[in-house]
Symmetry: C2
Subunit: 285 residues, 2 copies
């Protein structure tokens, strides 16, 4: 029986290393990300595993919880691309956790499973438009309603205005959130919405947006409780219509990681690519 | 009719300036606070008004919302002592708000009313024990249950253990919170509780506490959603019993400002001193 060189060659060209996937993921602003990696000013990079390993499958998720790591492995993935730090802080502090039993058990699991975990935080936010923002806007069906798009925020204008309480209810449903926190008057009309993802719901980004006459409501992942909600409270006391909805950090960013899976599946044909949702971190009483 | 020198002298000795009240408030670590004020590394100080004004009455509150300022004035106070920044951020950024209509209206109100607002954040946290922590522990009836007391956290051992859900329900009631966020298994037994106030519910302080075998649950004001809740999630996945309850930032710190009013009333006999509660900043759906 003769060899089939074309098929063999095809197999070779469709095999990728972890390093190649990283280069693709960091393509948005590769020069900047590489510079930042060399100076330690980005959190992006390979958190666990070896860069020249051949990729068997890719999973994406908001966070590399132990359950997500196990699910990724069960689905045949040996690469997991996540947005947040795997050891419970934005900047890696694993040297502080050496004696921690949860940390130790998680490290053992990752090593036994052989999971390559890539942190993709800065590079996806540096895409233009921001890949995490695009995921959220897509999930909400708002991409066509964007009237202003800046590096860290977008303004959306609804075709049909909603009352604040209705908007929050709708967002809770669309994002499958276990709860939603809001501030403002329930009946307030919301047409122009400032949208921010993740931990951008603080004074620095939020105050200039809430101060605009044409912004009715601001939605964000999370932010300090003593900043924007205090502004909204004073605004209402003065008779102004301003609303604020905190979606939850993961709820605001995981649509971007879901959308990333769609993009990677198109990029790596033949390679299994899946998105794994995280369960909500909190419940409310 | 003769003068009454003794009464006149008494009146003089019971009149205080704003400056004198500040010196008393910053007594805990006055040297340090003064050094930090001179180098701009404390947020404490006189936010509005003139230091040599005679005090007519003192109000305390968690935050100087417009409604709190008005209530303080209605009660005859011209001094308001608050924990958080009056212009919606921890570090004063009012130069960024010059054109903001809410900021402008609030400034006008404060000037018209003539309210002297003192920020008391660092100094009360620097008291030993931390005055804000003491207020929370007192509100919960836990001062006698403290088994460890450190600069930024305390460990409380309950006489009667509670299940996590019960504990959260009880805390919600005791602190008159509109909601409470929790992570962990509802039936988990909680006896040893790590207590942190304000924005200390993050990795830096929280991970070493949650990693201890003898800590069942951690309660804090607020903290990043991707830090401690992710740790608790992994711990539970590994079969460990760990719980986390976020009380709300104001809910965790305003008992300390309420207790401060009691202390100031004892210090300044004859001067009206009141505590003004803030309404919750968020509601949940």
């Amino acid at each position: 029986m003769q060899m089939e060189p074309s098929r063999s060659s095809h197999t070779l060209t469709t095999s990728y290393t972890v390093q190649q996937v990283m280069e693709h993921l960091f393509h948005a602003d590769q020069h900047t990300i590489r510079e930042r990696q060399s100076t330690g000013t980005t959190v992006d990079g390979l958190e666990t595993g070896v860069a020249d390993t051949i990729v068997t499958g890719i999973a994406t998720a908001f966070s590399a919880s132990q359950r997500v790591i196990q699910q990724a492995a069960a689905q045949g993935a040996n690469v997991l691309v996540v947005h947040e730090g795997i050891f419970y802080s934005h900047h890696d502090q694993r040297e502080r956790l050496h004696d921690d039993p949860v940390y130790q058990a998680k490290c053992t699991l990752i090593e036994q499973i052989g999971m390559h975990i890539i942190r993709l935080h800065d590079a996806i936010h540096l895409e233009r438009p921001d890949g995490i923002m695009e995921g959220l806007l897509g999930q909400l069906g708002w991409r066509q309603q964007v009237v202003e798009e800046m590096a860290v925020w977008s303004i959306v204008e609804l075709e049909q205005p909603l009352q604040l309480q209705q908007l929050a209810q709708w967002l809770k449903q669309q994002l499958a959130a276990s709860y939603m926190r809001l501030s403002g008057e329930s009946e307030q009309i919301c047409q122009r919405i400032a949208v921010l993802v993740g931990y951008r719901g603080g004074a620095t980004h939020g105050l200039p947006l809430l101060g605009r006459d044409d912004v009715d409501v601001l939605i964000a992942g999370e932010g300090p409780e003593w900043e924007l909600p205090e502004y909204v409270r004073d605004a209402i006391e003065q008779g102004r219509s301003k609303g604020l909805i905190m979606l939850g950090h993961a709820e605001s960013e995981q649509p971007g990681m879901q959308w990333l899976a769609t993009r990677l599946a198109a990029q790596y044909e033949g390679l299994p690519v899946t998105y794994i949702p995280n369960e909500p971190v909190f419940r409310v009483i």
